[in-house]
């Protein structure tokens, strides 16, 4: 048992190296992209489109290196707390992944099936992922919310959300 906290902390340290990696990758990406830009010399724009990206790329890479050093030396980012957040237990992926699933389902459905259907799927799926088990009641709430926002956006904001499969009915 005594080795598990050190193992956990080592794992945590390692996962934070991923952040450094991401920063470094972003920096390299910004640099390569800027490097590919044409810079016609012009008196009206001596700075050109490349200067700022180069500075940003430099900042990102320096941060990546320093963060990697910091993490390897035992530095740790302080996870953000909050009134409804309990950091005593590890991330609950069984909640997060279904939430992301509901989100992706909405992206795939929205243009084809329309907002009323995809929004219902999104809300119902999210409620389910978060532990709601009143399937019928939650379903009715989801549907009502989607229909209300559909008409609310159309009548109130003048935005026509896609009707999709229900075109003609709504």
């Amino acid at each position: 048992m005594s080795s598990s906290p050190t193992l956990a902390s080592r794992l945590k340290g390692r996962s934070e190296l991923g952040v450094a990696l991401l920063l470094g990758a972003a920096g390299v990406m910004v640099f390569l992209d800027a490097n590919g830009l044409a810079t016609p010399y012009s008196k009206s724009d001596p700075v050109g489109p490349r200067t700022v990206p180069f500075i940003v790329a430099g900042l990102l890479v320096v941060c990546a290196v320093l963060l990697a050093v910091n993490v390897l030396r035992g530095g740790k980012g302080e996870a953000e707390g909050g009134e409804d957040v309990d950091l005593a237990h590890p991330a609950d992926w069984k909640t997060v992944l279904p939430l992301v699933g509901a989100f992706i389902a909405n992206i795939l459905l929205i243009d084809w099936a329309g907002w009323v259907i995809s929004g219902t799927v999104l809300f119902w799926g999210s409620v389910w992922a978060l532990g709601g088990r009143h399937y019928v009641r939650d379903g009715l709430i989801s549907l009502a919310l989607s229909i209300l926002t559909f008409y609310g956006f159309f009548l109130g904001l003048g935005i026509a959300l896609p009707a999709g499969l229900l075109e003609g009915i709504l």
Partner: protein
């Protein structure tokens, strides 16, 4: 013998607890106190906090009652938790507190106590707040 009591920090819950303590002393039983929450909101005033639990603990200890206090938070409703505990510990008696409700109120809000009364395999003692 084992007695299960469903406890909530309300007058009904206190009445149930008092009755359960009396029953436990009479029959020299083990007392299992269940105080559960679905845990689906940040705040649940029916879930007893540390000081309340401590005072119950002290009260039971001074009376010399063999007891266990459990506070499950598993997303189940209170009836399921009490029934679960009763089944698991082969309870001989369940004690619950009843709220006063009109027949219409009862119809709309299916109640915890009703479900326990209907589904329990052992005798159920229902008390009202004094």
């Amino acid at each position: 013998m084992t007695i299960v009591v469903g406890y909530v920090p309300t007058p009904e819950g206190e009445a149930a607890l008092a009755q359960a303590i009396a029953e436990a002393r009479k029959s020299n039983s083990r007392l299992l106190v269940i105080n559960s929450s679905k845990g689906d909101a940040l705040v649940d005033n029916r879930y007893a906090q540390e000081p309340e639990i401590q005072s119950i603990e002290d009260r039971l200890a001074t009376q010399g009652i063999d007891h266990v206090i459990k506070q499950p938070v598993r997303g189940h409703d209170a009836a399921a938790e009490v029934l679960d505990a009763a089944e698991e510990h082969n309870a001989d008696l369940i004690v619950i507190g009843l709220r006063r409700r009109t027949p219409v109120g009862k119809l709309i809000l299916g109640s915890t106590s009703q479900r326990i009364l209907l589904e329990a395999d052992c005798p159920v003692l229902a008390v009202k707040a004094g």
